[in-house]
Each structure stands twice: as C-alpha cells, then as structure tokens.
C-alpha cells in the first residue's frame, strides 16, 4: 500500500478519535445520527476506501469509549446504547464508588474491541460462502429482517403493522419525484430518506413545541441540572487488565464473543439481556454493578465492531442493525457506492486488516487513557462550551443539505415528511432497525402487494 494512503489513514483515524471523543460525551447523541451523515460526506468527497474504513472504525471505537463518560459522571446516557448502563452506574454512585463506573466501563470497552476485531475478521471469512446466496435474495432478506426485528421489538404489533405503510411512503415519494421529473428515472432516492429516519425523533420533538397540547409537557423553568463528581487521580498509563479483576475480564470477554456471534441482533436488547444474565448471581451490589457495566460496555463495543465488519467483509450487504444504521454509507452512498459496488467490492479480501487495526489501535491509544484520566474535565468542557442548540442545528443543516443534493428543493420537504412519520413511529416503539430494513425493501414490498 502507498505510503501517502497510510499517512492519510493515520490522520483520518486521529481526527475520528478526537472528534468522536467529544461528540460521544454530548448527551442525546444517537450513534446513527452523528456517525452516518459525516461518514457519508467523507465517502462522497472521494476519500480512499481504506481511509474511509480507518476513519469509521476509529470513530466508533472512540464514540463507544466516551459515551459511557456522562453515564458515570452525571448519570445521563451519552447515546442510545449507553442507556442500559445508567441503572448500574447509579448503584455505584449511591454506594460512594462513582469512580469505579468509568474505569470499569472504559476497560470493558477495550476488552470488547480487542475481542471483536480478530473475531469479526475470522467470522467474516467463515461466512463468505454464504454471500452469493444472500445477494440473490437481498430483497427477501431485508423484508425478513424487518419482520424479524419487528418481532424482537418491544412494540411488536405496531412495528409489524408499520412495515407496509412505511414502504409505501418511501416508494410513493420516489414515484412522485420521477413523475414530476425532480430526478431521472435511473435515480433511486435513498440516502436522504435514510437520514430523514435518523433525525425523525428530533424533528417530531421540535415540531411538538408548536403543538399547544404537547408544548406544556416540554417546557421547563430551569436549566438542566447535572450533578458532577471529581476524577479519582490515576497515575501513569492505565491498564484495562489491572482495572478489571479476572472474573470481570472473563465475563467481558465472553460477552464480547456472544456479541460478535449475534451481530445481526439488536445490540441494545442483547446488552440488557447478557449484562443482567452475567451479573445475576452476584450478591454484593458493588461487585454486581461493576460486573454488569464492564460486561455491557464490552458487549456494546463488540456488537458495534462485528455488526459493521462482518456484513462489510463477508457480504457487502448491510445485514445488521449497525451496518444498516451508522455504517450505512459504507454500503450505500450513491452515486459512489451502491449495493452492487461498495466498500466490500473495492477493498479486496486482504485490504481490511490494516485500516481496521490502525483505526481501532489509534482510537484506543488516544481515547482510553484520556477517558480514564480526564473524564470529568472532558465532560465539563463539552457541557459548558457546546450547546445543544448548536449540535441540533448542525445535524439538521447537514441533513437538509444532503437532501437537496440528492433530489433538489422538493426533497427537503420529502425528507421532512419521512422524518415526521419515522419519528412518530419511533415514539410508538417502532425502532430504527425495522424502519431501515423497510427502507431497503420498499421497492420490493410495493410490488408484493400489487393485486
């Protein structure tokens, strides 16, 4: 590989790690909403495939490490996937050991990454023979995926019922654009609908400010109170294997392996299920909570890494909640990447190792020690300087720009429509996974129900 590409990879990984260390701390930052638009922009700007992958891996490893910081420091999740850990972090805080939370979580996260990277590369190679079959039946696989995720969801009935209407909305907008010649018939609008789904909950929330019956529930008469604690001083370079005891290390490693094997499942569901199972028999509340959060953080990390890498390397089709969510631009970013020609096709089988290892290693080396040593300082920095208004504005602006880019002004309103419907469904318990799978199988579903 060219030396200049390697230098670019290192720069991209450092930028990814630093930027997502900060974004990870900000409250309410959903993984898909913060990772997908920026990754998409990098893909469309024409970056080298290895540089894209290296950036993405570094970004998710850093984001996963730091979204547990606000859980430990302030008891609020830094992302959707950190939510299951709040309960246990609160237990540690109540027992006067909040300093344990961050160290146990971050160290669990490191174990998760260390297990998931080799494990995913191995599993992916084992799955390669399946790829031709899955590619032929991609439409059916996505539809089954939507049904499967709907059945696994908390709100099964509404999730199932939403699939066909939502598919019609997507396909209906595409036909409208073709009909009034907003885009040529050869263009299938995809990415902006995808982004519309990701910002759906945020758009619904903002619009509710203008609904008189909803507004009173949203209004507040004081700032958000966040209780902070000081860092416990740690000297030298922290070592995850000495921070976790042997049982916690084993538990975190087992959790990571299972997380890799179930890469196609909902990571939040798996995290809750396995974290609770692995810690169920421990009596001492502090040990129990420490075991639970280290295992959970390892598992979410492993789910992330494997959920991206396995479909990417083995299949080239985004068949996991991670791949179809935050990592979607690696699979589908027209005009550069499509399901027939994406990162999977251009990388070649040996090309994955270096970008993945470099991205993961750089993120761990930069973010892990910072997380352990300066968690409170980073939290203060982000909480004091970066307003929620500015963050919401940036993602809103990016999505509108990408909507305009794909199909002109009309698509800005199309994306708002998708966001409104998707956000409302989300509110009712139809999760992102079901909606993304439906988006992928939209064209197929609408041909199925033609009688």
């Amino acid at each position: 590989m060219d030396l200049s590409i390697i230098v670019q990879m290192i720069i991209a990984a450092v930028i990814g790690a630093v930027v997502y260390t900060l974004i990870g701390v900000a409250p309410g930052t959903d993984e898909t909403a913060v990772l997908a638009p920026i990754t998409l922009a990098i893909v469309l700007m024409g970056a080298h495939p290895a540089v894209i992958l290296c950036f993405f891996i570094s970004a998710i490893v850093a984001k996963k490490l730091t979204d547990s910081i606000p859980v430990a420091v302030a008891g609020i999740p830094g992302g959707v996937m950190a939510a299951p850990m709040v309960e246990h972090a609160v237990v540690l805080k109540a027992h006067g050991r909040p300093d344990l939370s961050i160290r146990k979580m971050a160290s669990g996260s490191v174990i998760g990454t260390l297990v998931a990277v080799p494990m995913s590369l191995l599993l992916a190679n084992a799955l390669v023979p399946l790829a031709p079959v899955i590619k032929v039946y991609a439409n059916q696989v996505f539809l089954i995926g939507a049904i499967f995720l709907a059945l696994m969801a908390r709100e099964k009935v509404v999730s199932l019922l939403s699939i066909i209407p939502f598919a019609l909305l997507i396909q209906g907008l595409r036909h409208l654009y073709w009909g009034i010649e907003a885009v040529p018939k050869t263009t299938t609008v995809f990415v902006s609908f995808f982004l519309g789904i990701t910002i759906g909950p945020m758009i619904v929330n903002i619009l509710e400010l203008f609904v008189s019956t909803k507004r009173k529930d949203l209004l507040r008469d004081s700032y958000k109170k966040i209780t902070m604690r000081e860092d416990a001083k740690i000297k030298g370079i922290p070592n995850p294997f000495s921070i976790l005891d042997i049982k916690e290390t084993i538990s975190a490693a087992i959790g990571s392996v299972i997380g890799c094997l179930t890469f196609f499942m909902s990571p939040v569901g798996m995290t809750i299920f396995l974290g609770e199972t692995m810690s169920a028999r421990i009596k001492d509340p502090i040990q129990k909570a420490a075991r639970a959060i280290s295992t959970m953080d390892a598992l979410t990390n492993a789910c992330y890494v494997s959920g991206v890498l396995i479909p990417l390397i083995a299949l080239g089709v985004p068949l996991s909640p991670m791949a179809i969510g935050p990592a979607n631009p690696l699979f589908n970013a027209p005009p550069r990447f499509t399901l027939e020609n994406n990162l999977h096709h251009v990388m070649g089988s040996g090309g994955y190792f270096l970008p993945v290892l470099l991205g993961a290693a750089i993120a761990l080396i930069i973010t892990y020690p910072i997380t352990i040593k300066y968690s409170t300082k980073i939290c203060r920095f982000v909480f004091r300087l970066i307003s929620h208004e500015a963050l919401l504005g940036m993602f809103f602006g990016l999505v509108l720009m990408l909507a305009y880019m794909e199909a002109g002004f009309i698509n800005i309103w199309g994306v708002m429509l998708v966001a409104l419907v998707a956000g409302t469904l989300n509110r009712w318990g139809v999760n992102y996974g079901v909606q993304f799978m439906t988006l992928y199988s939209g064209a197929y579903i609408s041909t199925l129900i033609l009688f």
């Binding site: 700007m45 507040r220 902070m228 208004e389 500015a390 504005g393 990016l398 509108l400 720009m401």
Partner: protein, 87 residues
C-alpha cells in the same frame, strides 16, 4: 409560565427565555430556531453558491455547516447547570 413553587430559582435563567426539553437536553426555543436557521443557511447556502463541479459543492456545504456550528456555539450558550458533588 408556571408560578415559582418556592424552590430555589436558578440565577442563570434570563428574563424572556422560553426553555424546553428537546432530545434529552434543555434548550432555549428561540435560540434553537435561530440555530436551525443559521445552520441550514450555512450548509445549504455553501452547497448552492459553490462552483457547480464535484466535489466543490459538498466541500463548501460542509465548510458552511462547520462555520455555522462555530457561530451557534459562540452565540448560544448551553442551558446546563453543573452542580459539584461532595465526595
């Protein structure tokens, strides 16, 4: 607005601010709307005024989004009250 229920009021809340909880955090509604407007102008404006040849529109759009983000972060301060906990 609700009457003060006798709890300690937060000194940082300014007269005329309308605070609301959006996406897990507290914002000033007017500042949020301004921020959405500034960010959209930055990103979309950058994209549209750029020379019509790839990849300039995307680069200008992203630069616009970044500048708008910095402007919003400077103009609009976080609505968070940090309370130090006794250890």
């Amino acid at each position: 607005m609700q009457a003060n229920t006798g709890q300690k009021t937060v000194p940082t809340v300014k007269e005329g601010q309308v605070l609301a909880e959006v996406w897990e955090d507290v914002v000033d509604v007017r500042e949020l709307l301004l921020s959405l407007l500034i960010s959209t102008t930055g990103a979309l404006g950058g994209y549209i005024i750029a020379p019509d040849a790839a990849p300039y529109p995307l680069i200008c759009g992203l630069t616009g989004a970044l500048l708008a983000f910095i402007v919003c972060a400077v103009l609009f301060k976080p609505k968070r009250e940090l309370i130090d906990e006794e250890v």
